[in-house]
Symmetry: C2
Subunit: 279 residues, 2 copies
Amino acid sequence: MELWFTEKQTPHLHWSCRVTQTLYSKQTPYQQVDVFETEQFGRIMTLDGMVMITEHDEFAYHELLTHVAMNTHDHPKQILVIGGGDGGAIREILRYQTVKRVVLAEIDEAVIDASKRFFPHISSGFSDARVEIQIGDGMDYIRQYQEEFDIILIDSTEPIGVGKKLFESLFYHSVFRALKKDGLMVAQTLSPWVNQSLIRQCYHKIAQIFPITRLYMGQVPTYPSGSWTFTLGSKHYDPLKVDESRLPHLKQTRYYHPQLHRALFQLPKFVKEIIATEE
Amino acid sequence: MELWFTEKQTPHLHWSCRVTQTLYSKQTPYQQVDVFETEQFGRIMTLDGMVMITEHDEFAYHELLTHVAMNTHDHPKQILVIGGGDGGAIREILRYQTVKRVVLAEIDEAVIDASKRFFPHISSGFSDARVEIQIGDGMDYIRQYQEEFDIILIDSTEPIGVGKKLFESLFYHSVFRALKKDGLMVAQTLSPWVNQSLIRQCYHKIAQIFPITRLYMGQVPTYPSGSWTFTLGSKHYDPLKVDESRLPHLKQTRYYHPQLHRALFQLPKFVKEIIATEE
């Protein structure tokens, strides 16, 4: 018997990989969580049938989400991750000595549990004393704070179900408020080939609130189209003005390195055009 | 009834898109050529069951293959394209006023015919007076020449069947010989996620022959993994020393623009590591 997992990326496009073993399957109050063993990508975790992480390429997504922000801010100490229950973003954040405290606000504890159990490599940071886990709605959590964090990373699912409100202006206002005077945020904002109108909307919502807004892009082969965008909103630091020669060379990264920092912001023409106008 | 085309990207990974109409299907002496109408990507052409072009993203591949070379050479006049029977590379080359002659050496006339019939937008350059079509083996064709071309583009299929010899040292030697004293070549060299050893081999084969060898990368969502590499071998011009401020801004491009030129060569760390050693 052959077992295949199929992600219906759109009604007209399916992506299927062969499963050698189903390791975990749970319907939580928020979503369906599954963990599979695959030949092609090692272990993968899906939420509501969409690939969230695979062992083979999670480094690309987590490094892209994390290191641009960490290297744009001069001295990031207090970091908040919203979503990201697998722990991959936390693992990357903890590579910096400046970091004093990382809060993870994840709505679904089952994601954290599944990651601890099946992805020890990704969830390794959970045992670090600097990490604080908050189970609950990221929106409710962030509302309590004012000028608390240096960096906020929005490691959300797609803008459907529990993830929807994390793509709205009301949420970005709360993020702005919870950031220190020189704080910055990065949100994952999906594929420039599939989600143009979402990217445009997020960019302009963030640009209405933050003085500096920049879109950057990288490759995550197991996400739809293989290209992925990230939107950075900043109160003070401009990622394009970073002195790359002064950035640390982290031994453990496999995607990000200092000479890539500014190049990530050089977008193909069609992507520049997505955000060039509000409509 | 639903009709789906499935590309078996690896034995463990399938990529399927819904077909609304089969427009063309022919077994030639070289390969199976099919043209489908799809909801997701418009018309697509497949060779031996692998996607070669889709209406929606062919611009990315053809612009990446062509414009880096055309903007690295100071005054490209004589251009040779090996493979590329769809005509997409030729269409991009003809955007430059300096070009006097473009030769297309394609082994399979059926690809040219199918493109003329079903992809008028892509094959539009075939009617240009500067274009010369040579039906035959690219390897045999190129052997006749010495210091003839400014640029040679290798727009091949995968390194199996008819395309195999276009990834070998013997061929790259012939390319070197057929290039003028300041000539350069670009070859498509597949995915950095799927084809690491092929990329490494091609890079070092080319580096043994050409004084300047550079790998660059871009996104083509309908190719495996969505990321694609290109290897440039040059006798004189270095793509990293191009003055971007002097490059022309072509109105018709949708991917390439002058500020992207050097950024394309800034590779993720794992891709740099692929070519860092010969083994």
